[in-house]
Symmetry: C2
Subunit: 483 residues, 2 copies
């Protein structure tokens, strides 16, 4: 068993030695993804996709509870349509994959593979919306999008990725702002509760906001290497798109008015966050709520006791399977020790071991992935104990992650402190910022750190002096190097 463990562990580069290689080792060895034949694209393998399916299921439920329905808009956008909104196209054109031929024929107009769908959806909304009675329009789509990036990393930045994009239209500015913040809160709640990832809710600076938005809100997480990651955004698009795409409605007062639109999205990047927030030297740790396999049963079945043990293991499996996502690993070709390590690497929250002596004593041994702790549990209590334990693990993982963020969030008074932290410790840096783009750019240039967000929590703000130029500032912002 010790040998097995060594073998597994040595396959994973230690996090401290090379975080990026650790990440690559984890995603490949746990079979979350593989590299695709097209550069920059990924194959999401069944274990990775099962995590995405759980994310989809939970989020979709939340979208529907907040009144949204799903629809599907086309993958293709004519170039002229993409170019209608100036800021928007400038933001996305450098990353667009262009279709120029259909079969043997050259197309009259180039077609973009959607990098995001505002332009095509707004075109449709302009047809569909006529009266105040048609508002609000609350539509979401689950889709693939393409951004032709030079430097890619699975889940974090790939040429193609999966996401959802909500697109809504409202009668008033207030309604649009309310929707934007409501969906940001849906994301926060989901990411914190289900993925056990603590986030900072905030607003993006003008520099960092979505191309074409009035205001972009974001949730920002901190990875174990001290780098920030934007995990979800919600945009109040104002009337920019409504005016360009002529989306108007006849109001109660008989006047024709432009609608207010929003858009919001999260992507398979969430899986990247999950790995880099919860992973450890032994592999993945998947929070129970989102884990494809919550409990794995490993029978310890020496030759002459094999049948008895397997039959008991099967019985446990049958008892549990209605209530937890359980798997029975009854493969013959691997030792129990090998299996322990493999399931630990895959991040399954709880392992149940059952051997001949356990059967005699009407007990099983359970092991937590989050703490490594082992417990002996009477067979009769197994199900309720497991259900409670899964909840406990979920909470504990959030607590651990939260404590990491707290330890790695530092408030600084001046640029010297700022530079020292970025050099040695990374993490979030809270600092006063005057609001000038120049200071934002300088800090980025000198330290590599960008403003992740201006926190929404008003208590975090206080008067001070801009960390770069020293001018008066009323606000505190979060800086970090980021993915």
């Amino acid at each position: 068993m010790t040998e097995n463990k060594k073998e597994f562990v040595k396959e994973i580069t230690p996090m401290e030695k090379d975080f990026s290689q650790w990440y690559t080792d984890i995603i490949l060895k746990t079979e979350l993804v593989d590299y695709a034949p097209v550069k920059g694209c990924m194959v999401i393998r069944p274990y990775g996709y099962a995590i995405w399916e759980n994310i989809q299921k939970d989020l979709d439920c939340r979208f529907k509870e907040t009144g949204h329905t799903n629809a599907y808009f086309p993958l293709f956008i004519p170039e002229s349509l993409l170019r209608k909104e100036q800021e928007h196209v400038e933001g996305f054109a450098p990353e667009v994959a262009w279709v120029t031929h259909g079969g043997d024929e050259e197309l009259a107009e180039r077609i973009a593979v959607r990098p995001t769908s505002e332009t095509v959806i707004c075109t449709m909304y302009s047809k569909w919306i006529n009266s105040y009675r048609d508002l609000p329009v609350l539509i979401n789509q689950w889709a693939n999008v393409v951004r032709w990036e030079k430097s890619t990393r699975p889940f974090l930045r790939t040429a193609e990725f999966l996401w959802q994009e909500g697109h809504t239209a409202h009668a008033t500015e207030e309604d649009a702002e309310e929707e934007t913040l409501k969906m940001l809160e849906v994301y926060r709640d989901f990411v914190e509760r289900d993925l056990a990832i603590p986030v900072i809710k905030g607003r993006k600076t003008e520099k960092e906001k979505f191309a074409g938005a009035l205001r972009t809100y974001t949730i920002e997480a901190l990875m174990l290497d001290g780098k920030g990651l934007q995990v979800g955004t919600s945009h109040n698009l104002g009337q920019h798109f409504a005016k360009v795409f002529d989306i108007t409605y006849l109001d109660r007062d008989g006047k024709e008015k432009y609608v207010w639109t929003t858009s919001w999205g999260v992507s398979t990047r969430l899986i990247g966050a999950l790995i880099m927030v919860h992973g450890d030297s032994r592999g993945l740790r998947v929070p129970p709520k989102i884990a494809p396999i919550q409990v794995v049963i490993v029978p310890i079945a020496p030759g002459d006791k094999k049948e008895v043990v397997l039959s008991k293991a099967q019985q446990l499996y049958e008892t549990l399977k209605g209530d937890v996502r359980v798997e029975l690993d009854d493969r013959d070709e691997y030792t129990p020790g090998w299996k322990f390590n493999q399931w630990e690497m895959k991040g399954v929250p709880v392992r149940v071991e059952i051997g001949p002596r356990d059967i005699e004593k009407h007990q099983v041994v359970i092991a937590r992935r989050d703490t490594g702790e082992k417990m002996v549990v009477g067979e009769g209590e197994l199900k309720p104990r497991l259900l409670k334990l899964l909840e406990g693990i979920q909470h504990n993982m959030f607590k651990q992650a939260k404590s990491f963020v707290e330890k790695n969030t530092r408030e600084v008074e001046n640029f010297e402190q700022f530079e020292e932290i970025i050099k040695n410790k990374r993490g979030f840096i809270k600092a006063s910022w005057c609001g000038n783009r120049e200071c934002e750019d300088y800090v980025k240039e000198k330290t590599g750190a960008s403003i992740r967000c201006i926190p929404l929590n008003k208590n975090e703000h206080r008067p001070g002096k801009c960390v770069y130029c020293g001018k008066e500032s009323e606000q505190i912002v979060y800086f970090a190097r980021a993915y």
Copy 2:
């Protein structure tokens, strides 16, 4: 109310007058789809997408019950990869959308937007499969695919459509054949039970089989205009792809062997079938099992009784909503008659009407969409009656469709009869066929009818003379003009 009805009905072109226009009217007016800014693409609107979501949910469940897991493979396939299998590329190349530029840069190699994913999935399987222990590999993906077609029609043939494609690899020919037929049966069962569409299970001829397959199996349905529609296919790919993509495994006997692969798929075309099998002069009829809204409650609320009626309607809604997919139409701006017609057009299986007199008598009125029948039901019995009624409607719709297929399936002895039927009646034509490609081509050329399938049901076969050349034949095949 009569005026309202007329207004609705006159918006839908009568089926007998112009079936194709009837179809277009239905899909646009019921807001299933809309035309997209890119020619040949469709926007699936929330009502249409909700049907697709129900199809997905049911099928996905069946796939998982038969041991399959989902994964996601990239949208993009390098040209060289697509060209690896000769037959396959010849089948698909004329319809490929080609990406030639990423941002401002021309790509070194053109990239295909996937028309189907055999080539990229086989490339991955070649990496993933090493030993007999890795088999079978049973993976499905839900995805969009693109086929650049000249002539398109929403749901039936569009440049982009949504589908699922299962791709499996097996150790033996028997295993692959078993899988191919198993998934065909999963499709048949789903389409007949859930969509209430009767189908013929059969094998495609060499001419009609999938590009690169050993054998293609199909389920074929008959539309109300007498044209056939292929609604699902399952391919035994033999070792063609395994050999081209070098997918081998080390068998128990220590020998390196090629795997056997299959692929199978259904698409948003199923929604087209549903419309053309169940629709009528008043609009859609959606089978209860797949209906986004199974029951709609329409309050009939004259001015002074409005509050009482709405409150009762709300109460009924609350009682029902856990057990059926119910909607309460409490919109102020439309009359009950207008609403009746709108929901009939949308194909909602059951309408519940509630007015002041019904409240006095503790009753409601329910109306079936499939037969138009109205019934008075005591309030206390409503839920069980509805549940039973929905089942009854599901069965009745299948029975109606089945009887249409039976009436429109004709066996012929010679080509004269064949031509007469094709000219006047359409439908399925059962006839003997010698198996020669020439006869198949001639019949197609002269009548527009293709061989839909060679039925799997052995009882349908008997010796006879080929309907075209008169040579001895052992088999009966289904002909039809088809979409």
